[in-house]
Symmetry: C2
Subunit: 256 residues, 2 copies
Protein backbone atom coordinates (compact mmCIF):
# COMPACT_ATOMS: atom_id res chain seq x y z
CA UNK A 1 0.00 0.00 0.00
CA UNK A 2 1.21 3.48 -0.83
CA UNK A 3 1.09 6.83 0.93
CA UNK A 4 -0.48 9.39 -1.37
CA UNK A 5 -0.98 13.13 -1.27
CA UNK A 6 -3.67 14.66 -3.44
CA UNK A 7 -3.04 18.05 -5.00
CA UNK A 8 -6.52 19.21 -5.94
CA UNK A 9 -10.06 18.70 -4.68
CA UNK A 10 -12.13 18.76 -7.87
CA UNK A 11 -14.01 15.92 -9.54
CA UNK A 12 -10.90 13.96 -10.50
CA UNK A 13 -9.14 14.38 -7.15
CA UNK A 14 -12.29 13.48 -5.26
CA UNK A 15 -13.14 10.41 -7.31
CA UNK A 16 -9.55 9.16 -7.36
CA UNK A 17 -9.03 9.91 -3.68
CA UNK A 18 -12.09 7.89 -2.74
CA UNK A 19 -11.06 4.93 -4.92
CA UNK A 20 -7.49 4.93 -3.59
CA UNK A 21 -8.66 5.28 0.01
CA UNK A 22 -11.12 2.44 -0.48
CA UNK A 23 -8.33 0.30 -1.97
CA UNK A 24 -6.45 0.68 1.32
CA UNK A 25 -3.92 3.36 0.51
CA UNK A 26 -3.13 6.08 3.02
CA UNK A 27 -4.08 9.55 1.89
CA UNK A 28 -1.57 11.77 3.68
CA UNK A 29 -2.63 15.30 2.70
CA UNK A 30 -5.22 16.99 0.52
CA UNK A 31 -4.41 20.38 -0.95
CA UNK A 32 -6.95 22.75 -2.42
CA UNK A 33 -6.81 26.44 -3.15
CA UNK A 34 -10.01 26.54 -1.09
CA UNK A 35 -9.56 25.74 2.61
CA UNK A 36 -13.15 24.54 2.83
CA UNK A 37 -12.77 22.14 -0.10
CA UNK A 38 -9.48 20.79 1.24
CA UNK A 39 -11.05 20.24 4.66
CA UNK A 40 -14.12 18.52 3.25
CA UNK A 41 -12.25 16.03 1.07
CA UNK A 42 -9.49 15.45 3.66
CA UNK A 43 -12.08 14.60 6.29
CA UNK A 44 -13.69 12.04 4.00
CA UNK A 45 -10.32 10.45 3.27
CA UNK A 46 -8.92 10.63 6.80
CA UNK A 47 -6.17 12.95 5.60
CA UNK A 48 -4.76 16.34 6.64
CA UNK A 49 -6.04 19.37 4.71
CA UNK A 50 -4.06 22.37 3.57
CA UNK A 51 -4.64 25.35 1.29
CA UNK A 52 -0.95 26.24 1.21
CA UNK A 53 1.36 24.32 -1.11
CA UNK A 54 4.23 25.21 1.24
CA UNK A 55 2.58 22.99 3.87
CA UNK A 56 2.83 19.88 1.71
CA UNK A 57 5.16 17.49 3.51
CA UNK A 58 7.40 14.70 2.24
CA UNK A 59 5.53 11.88 3.98
CA UNK A 60 3.84 10.54 0.84
CA UNK A 61 5.35 8.28 -1.80
CA UNK A 62 3.27 9.62 -4.66
CA UNK A 63 1.82 13.09 -5.25
CA UNK A 64 -1.13 13.12 -7.61
CA UNK A 65 -1.79 16.49 -9.23
CA UNK A 66 -5.39 16.93 -10.36
CA UNK A 67 -5.35 20.64 -11.06
CA UNK A 68 -6.24 22.61 -14.16
CA UNK A 69 -3.99 21.80 -17.11
CA UNK A 70 -2.49 25.25 -17.17
CA UNK A 71 -1.62 25.09 -13.46
CA UNK A 72 0.21 21.75 -13.57
CA UNK A 73 3.73 23.01 -14.18
CA UNK A 74 3.68 25.87 -11.67
CA UNK A 75 2.01 23.71 -9.02
CA UNK A 76 4.61 20.97 -9.44
CA UNK A 77 7.44 23.49 -9.12
CA UNK A 78 5.91 24.94 -5.97
CA UNK A 79 5.78 21.59 -4.14
CA UNK A 80 8.45 21.60 -1.39
CA UNK A 81 9.22 17.89 -1.74
CA UNK A 82 12.04 16.10 -3.48
CA UNK A 83 12.80 12.57 -4.56
CA UNK A 84 9.10 11.73 -4.67
CA UNK A 85 6.96 10.60 -7.58
CA UNK A 86 4.70 13.26 -9.09
CA UNK A 87 1.92 12.28 -11.49
CA UNK A 88 -0.76 14.36 -13.13
CA UNK A 89 -4.19 13.25 -14.32
CA UNK A 90 -4.53 15.30 -17.50
CA UNK A 91 -5.57 13.65 -20.74
CA UNK A 92 -3.74 16.15 -22.83
CA UNK A 93 -0.61 17.49 -21.12
CA UNK A 94 2.90 16.06 -21.27
CA UNK A 95 4.36 14.38 -18.22
CA UNK A 96 7.40 16.59 -18.76
CA UNK A 97 5.56 19.49 -17.11
CA UNK A 98 6.54 17.67 -13.90
CA UNK A 99 10.26 17.57 -14.72
CA UNK A 100 11.09 19.61 -11.61
CA UNK A 101 10.87 16.27 -9.84
CA UNK A 102 13.31 13.55 -10.88
CA UNK A 103 10.50 10.96 -10.96
CA UNK A 104 7.24 11.73 -12.64
CA UNK A 105 4.52 10.37 -14.83
CA UNK A 106 0.90 10.18 -15.87
CA UNK A 107 -2.08 8.71 -14.04
CA UNK A 108 -5.04 9.29 -16.35
CA UNK A 109 -8.28 7.36 -15.83
CA UNK A 110 -10.44 7.39 -18.95
CA UNK A 111 -13.75 7.67 -17.18
CA UNK A 112 -16.21 10.38 -16.38
CA UNK A 113 -15.35 11.47 -12.86
CA UNK A 114 -17.75 13.32 -10.63
CA UNK A 115 -17.85 14.01 -6.93
CA UNK A 116 -21.62 13.47 -6.87
CA UNK A 117 -21.56 9.72 -7.42
CA UNK A 118 -19.15 6.86 -7.00
CA UNK A 119 -16.93 6.37 -10.05
CA UNK A 120 -16.25 2.81 -11.17
CA UNK A 121 -12.55 2.72 -11.95
CA UNK A 122 -12.32 -1.05 -12.12
CA UNK A 123 -13.65 -1.29 -15.65
CA UNK A 124 -12.04 1.98 -16.79
CA UNK A 125 -8.93 2.23 -18.88
CA UNK A 126 -6.27 3.76 -16.63
CA UNK A 127 -3.38 5.15 -18.65
CA UNK A 128 0.04 5.47 -17.10
CA UNK A 129 3.39 6.82 -18.19
CA UNK A 130 6.65 7.21 -16.28
CA UNK A 131 9.83 9.11 -17.01
CA UNK A 132 11.78 5.94 -16.16
CA UNK A 133 11.08 2.23 -15.67
CA UNK A 134 10.89 2.34 -11.89
CA UNK A 135 8.42 5.25 -11.85
CA UNK A 136 6.30 3.60 -14.53
CA UNK A 137 6.22 0.38 -12.52
CA UNK A 138 5.27 2.17 -9.32
CA UNK A 139 2.45 4.11 -10.99
CA UNK A 140 1.21 1.01 -12.82
CA UNK A 141 1.17 -0.95 -9.56
CA UNK A 142 -0.81 1.82 -7.89
CA UNK A 143 -3.19 1.94 -10.85
CA UNK A 144 -3.77 -1.82 -10.68
CA UNK A 145 -5.12 -1.48 -7.16
CA UNK A 146 -8.13 0.44 -8.52
CA UNK A 147 -8.44 -0.61 -12.19
CA UNK A 148 -8.40 -3.93 -14.02
CA UNK A 149 -7.45 -2.18 -17.26
CA UNK A 150 -4.14 -0.42 -16.67
CA UNK A 151 -2.20 0.30 -19.81
CA UNK A 152 0.97 2.19 -20.67
CA UNK A 153 -0.17 4.63 -23.33
CA UNK A 154 2.05 7.03 -25.22
CA UNK A 155 1.28 10.72 -25.06
CA UNK A 156 -0.03 10.97 -28.62
CA UNK A 157 -2.49 8.10 -28.10
CA UNK A 158 -3.65 9.50 -24.78
CA UNK A 159 -4.33 12.78 -26.54
CA UNK A 160 -6.22 10.98 -29.31
CA UNK A 161 -8.46 9.31 -26.75
CA UNK A 162 -9.06 12.69 -25.16
CA UNK A 163 -9.91 14.19 -28.54
CA UNK A 164 -12.23 11.29 -29.39
CA UNK A 165 -14.06 11.85 -26.11
CA UNK A 166 -14.55 15.52 -26.99
CA UNK A 167 -16.29 14.49 -30.22
CA UNK A 168 -18.28 11.72 -28.54
CA UNK A 169 -19.37 13.56 -25.39
CA UNK A 170 -18.81 17.32 -25.50
CA UNK A 171 -19.80 17.90 -29.11
CA UNK A 172 -22.74 15.47 -29.01
CA UNK A 173 -23.98 17.26 -25.90
CA UNK A 174 -23.89 20.52 -27.82
CA UNK A 175 -26.02 18.92 -30.56
CA UNK A 176 -28.52 17.82 -27.92
CA UNK A 177 -28.58 21.42 -26.71
CA UNK A 178 -29.29 22.61 -30.25
CA UNK A 179 -32.19 20.13 -30.47
CA UNK A 180 -33.52 21.36 -27.17
CA UNK A 181 -33.43 24.96 -28.43
CA UNK A 182 -35.09 24.14 -31.74
CA UNK A 183 -37.89 22.31 -29.94
CA UNK A 184 -38.34 25.15 -27.48
CA UNK A 185 -38.78 27.57 -30.38
CA UNK A 186 -41.73 25.42 -31.52
CA UNK A 187 -43.12 25.19 -28.01
CA UNK A 188 -42.06 21.56 -27.77
CA UNK A 189 -40.13 19.77 -25.08
CA UNK A 190 -36.80 17.97 -25.24
CA UNK A 191 -38.67 15.17 -23.47
CA UNK A 192 -40.06 14.22 -26.89
CA UNK A 193 -36.55 13.39 -28.05
CA UNK A 194 -35.23 11.55 -25.01
CA UNK A 195 -36.73 8.14 -25.91
CA UNK A 196 -35.28 8.38 -29.44
CA UNK A 197 -31.87 9.33 -28.09
CA UNK A 198 -31.90 6.48 -25.59
CA UNK A 199 -32.93 3.98 -28.25
CA UNK A 200 -30.22 5.10 -30.64
CA UNK A 201 -27.44 5.15 -28.07
CA UNK A 202 -28.47 1.67 -26.98
CA UNK A 203 -27.69 0.56 -30.52
CA UNK A 204 -24.35 2.41 -30.44
CA UNK A 205 -23.47 0.38 -27.35
CA UNK A 206 -23.73 -2.80 -29.40
CA UNK A 207 -22.83 -1.86 -32.95
CA UNK A 208 -20.31 0.29 -34.75
CA UNK A 209 -21.77 3.80 -35.23
CA UNK A 210 -20.29 3.68 -38.71
CA UNK A 211 -22.93 1.03 -39.48
CA UNK A 212 -25.80 2.97 -37.90
CA UNK A 213 -25.87 6.17 -39.92
CA UNK A 214 -29.36 7.15 -41.04
CA UNK A 215 -31.03 10.41 -41.97
CA UNK A 216 -31.40 12.74 -44.93
CA UNK A 217 -27.64 13.31 -45.41
CA UNK A 218 -26.71 9.69 -46.10
CA UNK A 219 -29.94 9.20 -48.09
CA UNK A 220 -29.13 12.26 -50.24
CA UNK A 221 -32.66 13.38 -49.45
CA UNK A 222 -32.23 16.88 -50.78
CA UNK A 223 -35.84 17.95 -50.44
CA UNK A 224 -35.76 17.21 -46.69
CA UNK A 225 -32.38 18.92 -46.35
CA UNK A 226 -33.87 22.00 -48.04
CA UNK A 227 -36.79 22.06 -45.58
CA UNK A 228 -34.35 21.77 -42.67
CA UNK A 229 -32.14 24.59 -43.97
CA UNK A 230 -35.22 26.72 -44.41
CA UNK A 231 -36.27 26.03 -40.80
CA UNK A 232 -32.79 27.18 -39.74
CA UNK A 233 -32.95 30.39 -41.75
CA UNK A 234 -32.92 32.52 -38.61
CA UNK A 235 -29.88 30.69 -37.25
CA UNK A 236 -27.04 31.34 -39.65
CA UNK A 237 -24.51 29.46 -37.50
CA UNK A 238 -26.73 26.37 -37.17
CA UNK A 239 -27.35 26.45 -40.90
CA UNK A 240 -23.60 26.41 -41.46
CA UNK A 241 -23.18 23.58 -38.94
CA UNK A 242 -26.01 21.58 -40.53
CA UNK A 243 -24.44 21.95 -43.96
CA UNK A 244 -20.97 20.98 -42.77
CA UNK A 245 -22.24 17.90 -40.92
CA UNK A 246 -24.34 16.91 -43.92
CA UNK A 247 -21.47 17.21 -46.38
CA UNK A 248 -19.12 15.42 -43.95
CA UNK A 249 -21.53 12.49 -43.74
CA UNK A 250 -21.83 12.42 -47.52
CA UNK A 251 -18.03 12.45 -47.83
CA UNK A 252 -17.59 9.26 -45.82
CA UNK A 253 -20.57 7.48 -47.37
CA UNK A 254 -20.17 7.93 -51.12
CA UNK A 255 -23.21 7.32 -53.27
CA UNK A 256 -23.39 3.74 -54.41
Amino acid sequence: MAAITLIGSGNAATALGRALHKAGHQIVQVWSRSEAHAAQLAKELNAAPTADLQNINGNADIYILSVKDDAIEATAKALPVSGKILAHTSGIKSKDLLHSSGRYGIFYPFVSMTRDAETDFHTALLMVEGNNEETLKTLAALAQTISDRVRQVEERDRQSLHLAAVFANNFTNYLYTVSEQLLAESGLSFDELRPLIAAHVQRVMEQSPGQLQTGPAIRRDHSTIDVHLDLLSKHQNLKELYSLLTSSIQDIYPTT
Copy 2:
Protein backbone atom coordinates in the same frame (compact mmCIF):
# COMPACT_ATOMS: atom_id res chain seq x y z
CA MET B 1 -62.10 -0.83 -35.25
CA ALA B 2 -60.98 0.28 -38.69
CA ALA B 3 -60.06 -1.47 -41.91
CA ILE B 4 -56.61 -0.36 -43.01
CA THR B 5 -54.45 -0.88 -46.06
CA LEU B 6 -50.70 -0.40 -45.76
CA ILE B 7 -48.85 1.09 -48.71
CA GLY B 8 -45.24 0.15 -48.01
CA SER B 9 -43.40 -2.62 -46.20
CA GLY B 10 -40.37 -0.85 -44.71
CA ASN B 11 -39.59 -0.17 -41.07
CA ALA B 12 -42.44 2.29 -40.55
CA ALA B 13 -45.07 0.21 -42.37
CA THR B 14 -43.99 -2.95 -40.54
CA ALA B 15 -43.92 -1.40 -37.07
CA LEU B 16 -47.20 0.46 -37.58
CA GLY B 17 -48.88 -2.54 -39.19
CA ARG B 18 -47.99 -4.75 -36.24
CA ALA B 19 -49.22 -2.20 -33.70
CA LEU B 20 -52.50 -1.61 -35.55
CA HIS B 21 -53.05 -5.34 -36.04
CA LYS B 22 -52.36 -5.96 -32.36
CA ALA B 23 -54.83 -3.19 -31.44
CA GLY B 24 -57.54 -5.17 -33.26
CA HIS B 25 -57.80 -3.37 -36.58
CA GLN B 26 -58.19 -5.30 -39.79
CA ILE B 27 -55.29 -4.96 -42.20
CA VAL B 28 -56.89 -5.43 -45.60
CA GLN B 29 -53.95 -5.28 -48.00
CA VAL B 30 -50.20 -4.72 -47.89
CA TRP B 31 -48.52 -3.22 -50.92
CA SER B 32 -44.79 -3.30 -51.58
CA ARG B 33 -42.78 -2.81 -54.73
CA SER B 34 -41.25 -6.16 -53.78
CA GLU B 35 -43.63 -9.13 -53.98
CA ALA B 36 -41.62 -11.01 -51.38
CA HIS B 37 -41.76 -8.14 -48.90
CA ALA B 38 -45.47 -7.64 -49.45
CA ALA B 39 -46.10 -11.36 -48.93
CA GLN B 40 -43.99 -11.52 -45.77
CA LEU B 41 -45.65 -8.58 -44.03
CA ALA B 42 -49.14 -9.46 -45.27
CA LYS B 43 -48.79 -12.97 -43.88
CA GLU B 44 -47.79 -11.63 -40.48
CA LEU B 45 -50.77 -9.25 -40.47
CA ASN B 46 -53.32 -11.65 -41.93
CA ALA B 47 -53.73 -9.39 -44.96
CA ALA B 48 -53.62 -9.80 -48.73
CA PRO B 49 -50.33 -8.91 -50.44
CA THR B 50 -49.84 -7.11 -53.72
CA ALA B 51 -46.95 -5.58 -55.61
CA ASP B 52 -49.22 -3.74 -58.02
CA LEU B 53 -50.87 -0.50 -56.93
CA GLN B 54 -53.62 -1.20 -59.44
CA ASN B 55 -54.63 -4.17 -57.28
CA ILE B 56 -55.36 -2.01 -54.25
CA ASN B 57 -59.07 -2.31 -53.55
CA GLY B 58 -61.53 0.03 -51.88
CA ASN B 59 -62.29 -2.25 -48.92
CA ALA B 60 -60.29 -0.27 -46.38
CA ASP B 61 -61.32 2.91 -44.54
CA ILE B 62 -57.83 4.31 -44.24
CA TYR B 63 -54.80 3.93 -46.51
CA ILE B 64 -51.48 4.56 -44.75
CA LEU B 65 -48.63 5.48 -47.07
CA SER B 66 -45.21 4.68 -45.64
CA VAL B 67 -43.14 5.13 -48.75
CA LYS B 68 -40.11 7.30 -49.47
CA ASP B 69 -40.87 11.01 -49.18
CA ASP B 70 -40.29 11.61 -52.86
CA ALA B 71 -42.69 8.81 -53.83
CA ILE B 72 -45.64 9.98 -51.72
CA GLU B 73 -47.39 12.14 -54.27
CA ALA B 74 -47.10 9.77 -57.24
CA THR B 75 -48.07 6.76 -55.13
CA ALA B 76 -51.17 8.54 -53.82
CA LYS B 77 -52.21 9.50 -57.33
CA ALA B 78 -51.78 5.92 -58.53
CA LEU B 79 -54.13 4.46 -55.92
CA PRO B 80 -57.36 3.35 -57.65
CA VAL B 81 -59.58 4.22 -54.70
CA SER B 82 -61.80 7.19 -54.09
CA GLY B 83 -63.58 8.70 -51.10
CA LYS B 84 -61.17 7.04 -48.69
CA ILE B 85 -58.80 8.60 -46.17
CA LEU B 86 -55.14 8.68 -47.18
CA ALA B 87 -52.45 9.47 -44.62
CA HIS B 88 -48.68 9.49 -44.91
CA THR B 89 -46.12 8.92 -42.17
CA SER B 90 -43.43 11.42 -43.18
CA GLY B 91 -41.99 13.82 -40.64
CA ILE B 92 -41.23 16.42 -43.23
CA LYS B 93 -43.72 16.38 -46.12
CA SER B 94 -46.97 18.27 -46.42
CA LYS B 95 -50.25 16.42 -46.22
CA ASP B 96 -51.22 18.25 -49.41
CA LEU B 97 -49.17 15.77 -51.42
CA LEU B 98 -52.23 13.55 -50.91
CA HIS B 99 -54.70 16.07 -52.32
CA SER B 100 -55.74 13.65 -55.08
CA SER B 101 -57.99 12.18 -52.41
CA GLY B 102 -60.66 14.40 -50.92
CA ARG B 103 -59.77 13.28 -47.39
CA TYR B 104 -56.20 13.10 -46.29
CA GLY B 105 -53.83 13.76 -43.45
CA ILE B 106 -50.74 12.91 -41.46
CA PHE B 107 -50.05 9.94 -39.21
CA TYR B 108 -46.49 10.47 -37.95
CA PRO B 109 -45.23 8.56 -34.92
CA PHE B 110 -42.17 10.21 -33.38
CA VAL B 111 -40.34 7.06 -32.47
CA SER B 112 -37.54 5.01 -33.91
CA MET B 113 -39.25 2.29 -35.93
CA THR B 114 -37.54 -0.91 -36.91
CA ARG B 115 -38.81 -4.24 -38.19
CA ASP B 116 -36.24 -6.08 -36.05
CA ALA B 117 -37.87 -5.35 -32.70
CA GLU B 118 -41.26 -4.41 -31.35
CA THR B 119 -41.79 -0.65 -31.33
CA ASP B 120 -43.52 0.83 -28.30
CA PHE B 121 -45.99 3.33 -29.72
CA HIS B 122 -47.93 3.76 -26.49
CA THR B 123 -45.46 6.24 -24.99
CA ALA B 124 -44.55 7.84 -28.34
CA LEU B 125 -45.86 11.16 -29.55
CA LEU B 126 -48.13 10.42 -32.51
CA MET B 127 -48.72 13.51 -34.62
CA VAL B 128 -51.84 13.81 -36.72
CA GLU B 129 -53.20 16.32 -39.19
CA GLY B 130 -56.31 16.23 -41.33
CA ASN B 131 -57.48 18.28 -44.30
CA ASN B 132 -60.84 18.64 -42.57
CA GLU B 133 -62.35 18.08 -39.11
CA GLU B 134 -63.84 14.69 -39.86
CA THR B 135 -60.61 13.31 -41.31
CA LEU B 136 -58.59 14.69 -38.39
CA LYS B 137 -61.01 13.07 -35.94
CA THR B 138 -60.85 9.72 -37.72
CA LEU B 139 -57.05 9.72 -37.81
CA ALA B 140 -56.81 10.88 -34.20
CA ALA B 141 -59.18 8.12 -33.09
CA LEU B 142 -57.10 5.55 -34.96
CA ALA B 143 -53.93 6.96 -33.41
CA GLN B 144 -55.38 6.73 -29.92
CA THR B 145 -55.78 2.99 -30.28
CA ILE B 146 -51.97 2.61 -30.37
CA SER B 147 -50.60 5.71 -28.60
CA ASP B 148 -51.41 7.50 -25.36
CA ARG B 149 -49.83 10.68 -26.67
CA VAL B 150 -51.74 11.70 -29.79
CA ARG B 151 -51.44 15.34 -30.70
CA GLN B 152 -52.53 17.52 -33.56
CA VAL B 153 -49.30 19.16 -34.66
CA GLU B 154 -48.97 21.77 -37.39
CA GLU B 155 -46.67 21.06 -40.29
CA ARG B 156 -43.98 23.52 -39.21
CA ASP B 157 -43.74 22.01 -35.73
CA ARG B 158 -43.67 18.48 -37.08
CA GLN B 159 -40.79 19.53 -39.31
CA SER B 160 -39.01 21.13 -36.33
CA LEU B 161 -39.25 17.89 -34.38
CA HIS B 162 -37.88 16.05 -37.38
CA LEU B 163 -35.01 18.53 -37.66
CA ALA B 164 -34.28 18.29 -33.92
CA ALA B 165 -34.08 14.51 -34.25
CA VAL B 166 -31.55 14.88 -37.07
CA PHE B 167 -29.31 16.90 -34.76
CA ALA B 168 -29.90 14.59 -31.79
CA ASN B 169 -29.56 11.24 -33.54
CA ASN B 170 -28.12 11.44 -37.06
CA PHE B 171 -25.49 14.09 -36.40
CA THR B 172 -24.48 12.70 -33.01
CA ASN B 173 -24.08 9.30 -34.65
CA TYR B 174 -21.70 10.87 -37.15
CA LEU B 175 -19.65 12.32 -34.27
CA TYR B 176 -19.46 8.84 -32.73
CA THR B 177 -18.22 7.60 -36.09
CA VAL B 178 -15.54 10.31 -36.10
CA SER B 179 -14.45 9.20 -32.61
CA GLU B 180 -14.29 5.63 -33.77
CA GLN B 181 -12.09 6.61 -36.71
CA LEU B 182 -9.74 8.74 -34.59
CA LEU B 183 -9.31 5.89 -32.12
CA ALA B 184 -8.69 3.39 -34.90
CA GLU B 185 -5.91 5.60 -36.22
CA SER B 186 -4.21 5.27 -32.83
CA GLY B 187 -4.82 1.53 -32.72
CA LEU B 188 -7.48 2.01 -30.05
CA SER B 189 -11.01 0.67 -29.89
CA PHE B 190 -14.32 2.51 -29.74
CA ASP B 191 -15.04 0.18 -26.81
CA GLU B 192 -12.94 2.53 -24.69
CA LEU B 193 -15.48 5.28 -25.30
CA ARG B 194 -18.71 3.35 -24.86
CA PRO B 195 -18.82 3.56 -21.05
CA LEU B 196 -18.26 7.34 -21.19
CA ILE B 197 -20.98 7.76 -23.81
CA ALA B 198 -23.43 5.67 -21.80
CA ALA B 199 -22.68 7.63 -18.61
CA HIS B 200 -23.13 10.97 -20.33
CA VAL B 201 -26.35 10.06 -22.11
CA GLN B 202 -27.72 8.75 -18.83
CA ARG B 203 -27.31 12.28 -17.48
CA VAL B 204 -28.96 13.75 -20.59
CA MET B 205 -31.97 11.55 -19.82
CA GLU B 206 -32.42 13.35 -16.52
CA GLN B 207 -31.06 16.85 -17.02
CA SER B 208 -31.13 19.55 -19.65
CA PRO B 209 -28.13 19.12 -22.00
CA GLY B 210 -27.74 22.88 -21.81
CA GLN B 211 -26.70 22.38 -18.19
CA LEU B 212 -24.29 19.54 -18.93
CA GLN B 213 -21.80 21.12 -21.31
CA THR B 214 -18.19 20.39 -20.40
CA GLY B 215 -14.92 20.24 -22.32
CA PRO B 216 -12.22 22.56 -23.61
CA ALA B 217 -14.57 24.78 -25.65
CA ILE B 218 -16.72 25.98 -22.76
CA ARG B 219 -13.64 26.18 -20.51
CA ARG B 220 -11.83 28.31 -23.12
CA ASP B 221 -8.95 25.87 -22.70
CA HIS B 222 -7.00 27.10 -25.70
CA SER B 223 -3.89 25.02 -25.11
CA THR B 224 -5.98 21.82 -25.25
CA ILE B 225 -7.85 23.07 -28.31
CA ASP B 226 -4.49 23.69 -30.00
CA VAL B 227 -3.35 20.12 -29.26
CA HIS B 228 -6.62 18.77 -30.66
CA LEU B 229 -6.35 20.85 -33.83
CA ASP B 230 -2.80 19.64 -34.26
CA LEU B 231 -3.95 16.02 -33.90
CA LEU B 232 -6.47 16.73 -36.66
CA SER B 233 -3.91 18.28 -39.00
CA LYS B 234 -4.30 15.43 -41.50
CA HIS B 235 -8.09 15.80 -41.51
CA GLN B 236 -8.85 19.24 -42.85
CA ASN B 237 -12.62 18.68 -42.75
CA LEU B 238 -12.58 17.45 -39.14
CA LYS B 239 -10.43 20.40 -38.19
CA GLU B 240 -13.03 22.69 -39.69
CA LEU B 241 -15.83 20.82 -37.90
CA TYR B 242 -13.96 20.93 -34.59
CA SER B 243 -13.44 24.68 -34.93
CA LEU B 244 -17.06 25.35 -35.84
CA LEU B 245 -18.42 23.26 -32.95
CA THR B 246 -15.98 24.90 -30.56
CA SER B 247 -16.92 28.43 -31.60
CA SER B 248 -20.63 27.51 -31.57
CA ILE B 249 -20.33 26.30 -27.97
CA GLN B 250 -18.47 29.45 -27.03
CA ASP B 251 -21.17 31.57 -28.67
CA ILE B 252 -23.95 30.16 -26.47
CA TYR B 253 -21.88 30.17 -23.29
CA PRO B 254 -20.31 33.61 -23.10
CA THR B 255 -17.35 34.05 -20.79
CA THR B 256 -18.44 35.11 -17.33
